[in-house]
């Protein structure tokens, strides 16, 4: 009996937590929190008819930041009042 208790106690004293595993666990927790109440993606908002007919082949999808390689820390820029 005492050998079993000792073996069980030993089994609990070694684990693998480090900063990386904590970070990944925190991300998983965040995902669970956000999606707990359900979430509608852009895909889900499209009607069935639109989904089947959706054609983006001729879309000009290009986005090119006029600030170029300047990736400045963005302030919380304020929207202009409507």
């Amino acid at each position: 009996m005492s050998k079993t208790i000792t073996a069980n106690a030993a089994a609990l004293t070694v684990e693998t937590t480090d900063e990386l595993t904590l970070a990944i666990a925190a991300a998983h927790a965040r995902v669970s929190e956000v999606y707990a109440a359900g979430s509608v993606t852009l895909i889900d908002t499209i009607s069935n008819k639109d989904w089947l007919e959706w054609d983006g082949q001729h879309e000009n999808a290009i986005v090119a930041d006029s600030d170029g390689l300047e990736v400045a820390d963005e302030e919380e820029a304020l929207p202009v009042a409507a």
Binding site: A27, E59, A64, E76
Partner: protein, 189 residues
Amino acid sequence: MHLPDFAYYYSLRNASREKVASAINNKIKTVGGLEAWNHLTLCSIDKSSIDYARIEWPKHYSKSGHNGLQYSWDKLLYRFAPRPSYFDLAVWQIVDGEKVLQGMALGKPSNGKHHLTINWIERSYAPTYMKPGVLFPILACAEEYAKLLGCNQVLIKDPEDPTVFRRYGYAPYELRKVSGNYISKELQT
């Protein structure tokens, strides 16, 4: 680079892609559209996607009128990668047995995570370009990532044709103290 921070935000980006992939798969199962969406991969920008954009995409530039971005994707990723919370996406698809890069996108959240901005998108102009277009999965992933970050909006900075984004719910948006033309969408969480 603080690796735990990178791991945290990478995990959120990956979760956003999984959410969108799941939504697409569900739509295919319940509604259809397999041919247009089949064999799609939503993943990080990496060396293979950067090399593909550099070598393959230019072969189709002159026909389209698009002659590439001002900067290589290598340079763009280099500028964004030091911020662990950056947004990135490469959209690959297997077409006739060949792996084709359909599009890429890069962006970043504001400091207070109020909004996520997409700063760069480029698409393929090859004949193998996917019928639905890359904006659909790119914007879907950006919006899911923004929700996970706690952002209220997604902004697109300097789209060449802002009207193209209207049907995805984006409207003109003016910001003080910054340059550039923005469109935006409020997120529903």
